[in-house]
């Protein structure tokens, strides 16, 4: 599985949405992206890439696109 596939899976499974919804997806734009959804997403990303995100990055994870930038800090290229 590629990193992009893992990344997309984390979003799709955390929010129960299809891949077609991912481009442009932002924080709170869907009901599922609330605080519980956010924590579920962070856990899914950490498991998928075997990383531990720090608090500032967890707070900054505000969109599908922003997440790709954040993961670069953890040497994960999407």
């Amino acid at each position: 599985m590629t990193n992009l596939e893992k990344y997309n899976n984390a979003f799709c499974e955390s929010f129960h949405i299809g891949e077609d919804c991912l481009p442009g997806l932002v924080y709170q734009s869907i009901d599922a992206w609330d605080s519980v959804g956010h924590m579920t997403l962070v856990a899914a990303l950490e498991d998928a890439f075997d990383i531990m995100m720090d608090t500032d990055d967890i707070i900054d994870l505000s969109s599908y696109e922003k997440g790709k930038e954040i993961l670069k800090k953890y040497l994960v290229v999407i």
Binding site: Q28, D31, D34, S35, V36, M39, M52, D54, I58, I59
Partner: protein
Amino acid sequence: MEREPIVLNDYGVVLRQLTHDKIEMVRQWRNSPQIQQTMFFQDEITPDMQARWFMSLDPRRDLYFIISYKNDELGVINVKSIDFDNRSGEAGVFVYEERYLATDIAYRAHLVLFDYMFGQQGLKCIYSHIRRDNQKALRFAQFMGSLPDEERSTEDGLFLTLTFENYLNNPNRKRFINKWNRINLT
């Protein structure tokens, strides 16, 4: 002599017990439409009402805290109506700052406060009363390990109960604590 306000600091967040100089800020947050709509009491709160409410708080039994992250004051969390005989209290929270709404900051604030309530204040049960139309708050409470108590619930609101045991054994809490310890103890 006035008590020193309680300050709790863990998991990257700070909880400072509400003091008189902060009640106007809290009133403005509480009157904002996004917060008001989640509350049972939805009338505008006047400065006088706020002052009377603050004066009515029992400093041992009604503990309200401002939640801060890196000096950003972003919301309020509380356990009120603490009953030391039954070892129970009622929790509430709101996050005003939009940036933090759908993050894990409210979760961290709950862990800090509930560690204190269960661990140092000796409570064995914390309950919450949430509007049935506030699906996000209901989901959050269940994520913490709270269980619905339909017998105590009303048409408008659901009572949820979190026991100390369920709090300690909650898998979401365990995951968070494990991660926190790995980051901070290494």
